[in-house]
């Protein structure tokens, strides 16, 4: 039986992850692009870690960290009444960590591509870093912002290992599409699995196509050349 809940959960998860990561990614990308902090490379390595780690490794440690048996999980449970194991909020936190490099790397390259002299010009005009970020930097790196957002969204839609570890397979709570497909295959319902899968393929292809189309447009909404 094809259900709508997995679709809804997937889109909700991807949407929330993208928004949260954008808010976190802008300052982090800015810092990585402009800071002269000596051990910056360590932070860079940490941010990129989810790219190379098997999702199960990440999921495993998140599961341990979120568990009410352990310090972090106990703290969240006691003071915020927040349970992150096998819950939707847990998926959001896990996805934010898992997709971090997909948002931060494009934003960092976006910041790096801005000529340094633009910053100097804005500062000598009395503009603070914050105003310069909002009025000069971000408007001139819309390409990077779009790429970061699309990659994050798409990557979250495609998550499986981390979700299964942290969220399990609970209908209407943590059963996103990728898990639902796995579930149907386990139950030998290949027809339903196929329908889910086809929809996912079509959706992913469409999102990427639209992104590349916009990126290739000259004089588009994204660039000013």
């Amino acid at each position: 039986m094809l259900e709508t809940a997995p679709f809804y959960l997937t889109v909700k998860l991807a949407f929330l992850t993208t928004i949260i990561l954008f808010v976190l990614g802008v300052p982090l990308g800015y810092w990585l692009a402009f800071s002269r902090f000596r051990v910056k490379f360590m932070v860079e390595a940490l941010v990129s870690l989810p790219l190379v780690l098997p999702p199960t490794v990440l999921g495993f440690y998140l599961l341990l960290a979120f568990s009410p048996e352990n310090a972090l999980g106990k703290f969240l449970d006691t003071y915020f009444d927040l349970r992150l194991v096998f819950t939707f909020p847990g998926l959001v936190v896990a996805s934010v960590i898992y997709s971090l490099p997909f948002m931060v790397q494009p934003l960092k390259s976006g910041f790096t591509s801005i000529p340094k002299a633009w910053l100097d010009a804005a500062y000598t005009m009395g503009k603070s870093r914050r105003v310069t970020l909002r009025k000069v930097l971000l408007p001139n790196m819309k390409n990077a912002m779009l790429t970061g957002a699309v990659l994050t969204f798409a990557h979250t839609v495609g998550e499986f290992g981390v979700i299964l570890m942290v969220g399990g397979n609970i209908p209407n709570e943590t059963r996103v599409i990728s898990v639902a497909i796995y579930n149907e295959v386990e139950a030998m319902n290949y027809g339903v699995a196929n329908t889910y899968s086809l929809i996912l393929v079509g959706f992913s292809f469409l999102v990427l196509m639209v992104t590349y189309f916009i990126n290739h447009q000259k004089n588009s909404l994204l660039t000013y050349d």
């Binding site: 000529p115 100097d120 009395g126």
Partner: protein
């Protein structure tokens, strides 16, 4: 009066040089800084602007101390009353010509001034164009006007005309001199063009290997 004492080790393509200068300029003067590339000319302007911090230094403009490393004073660029024009224009492509000018204004400042400035640089018709569509000379006129809008005490010009052809240069030189006079500025002009410095400035500082080897009239040095 502007009092300038700077010490800084600079790392360049040709190895390290030790910049060490101690000089004064009068208010209303226009001083040209000349010297081979990599001598540290731009670094002096950047330190004046607060974009670069010297290892040791003291900068006083009029009554205000902008930098005193011995007392830990270092005004941020935002708080130094300067106008700066860069070789590469640095206009913001996401804003029109007019918006570029308006961006420079303080919050709540009189917007009439931007319109007047557009008139002065003869670009009223191009107010709504994006800067990418302008010629090099037009871009630099906008950049100059933008630097003037904050009514700075000190105008810093970092090779502003190097990317322009002869005719454009002459035209821009006129604007710079006009602004310098009309706004009672003190102006520092970095250039590697001897003719330009002779034409523009009353006084010349020649920088070689990090220190001034000449301070006087441009004519006497270049003949």
């Amino acid at each position: 009066m502007i009092d300038l004492q700077l010490k800084k080790r600079l790392t360049g393509a040709g190895g390290d040089i030790f910049l060490q200068i101690d000089c004064q300029m009068q208010s209303g003067e226009i001083v040209g800084i000349y010297g081979p590339s990599g001598a540290g000319k731009s670094s002096i302007l950047r330190m004046l602007a607060g974009l670069m911090v010297p290892d040791q230094g003291f900068i006083q403009v009029g009554e205000e101390v902008w930098l005193d490393t011995s007392k830990g004073i270092n005004l941020r660029p935002q708080h130094r009353n300067i106008g700066m024009v860069f070789q590469e224009y640095s206009l913001f492509p996401n804003m029109t010509v007019l918006q570029n000018l308006e961006f420079a204004m303080e919050k709540g400042a009189d917007r009439k001034l931007t319109k007047e400035m557009l008139e002065i640089i003869g670009m009223r018709e191009l107010a709504d164009q994006r800067p990418q569509l302008l010629s090099g000379g037009q871009k630099q006129r906008v950049a100059l006007a933008r630097a003037m809008l904050r009514q700075p005490k000190l105008l810093l010009l970092d090779e502003p005309l190097s990317a322009l052809d002869r005719e454009m240069r002459k035209n821009l030189q006129q604007y710079i001199l006009q602004f310098h006079r009309d706004f009672h500025l003190s102006t520092l002009l970095v250039s590697h063009d001897a003719a330009e410095i002779t034409r523009m400035s009353e006084r010349l500082w020649v920088l070689e290997n990090g220190s001034f080897v000449y301070d006087g009239e441009p004519n006497l040095y270049f003949t």
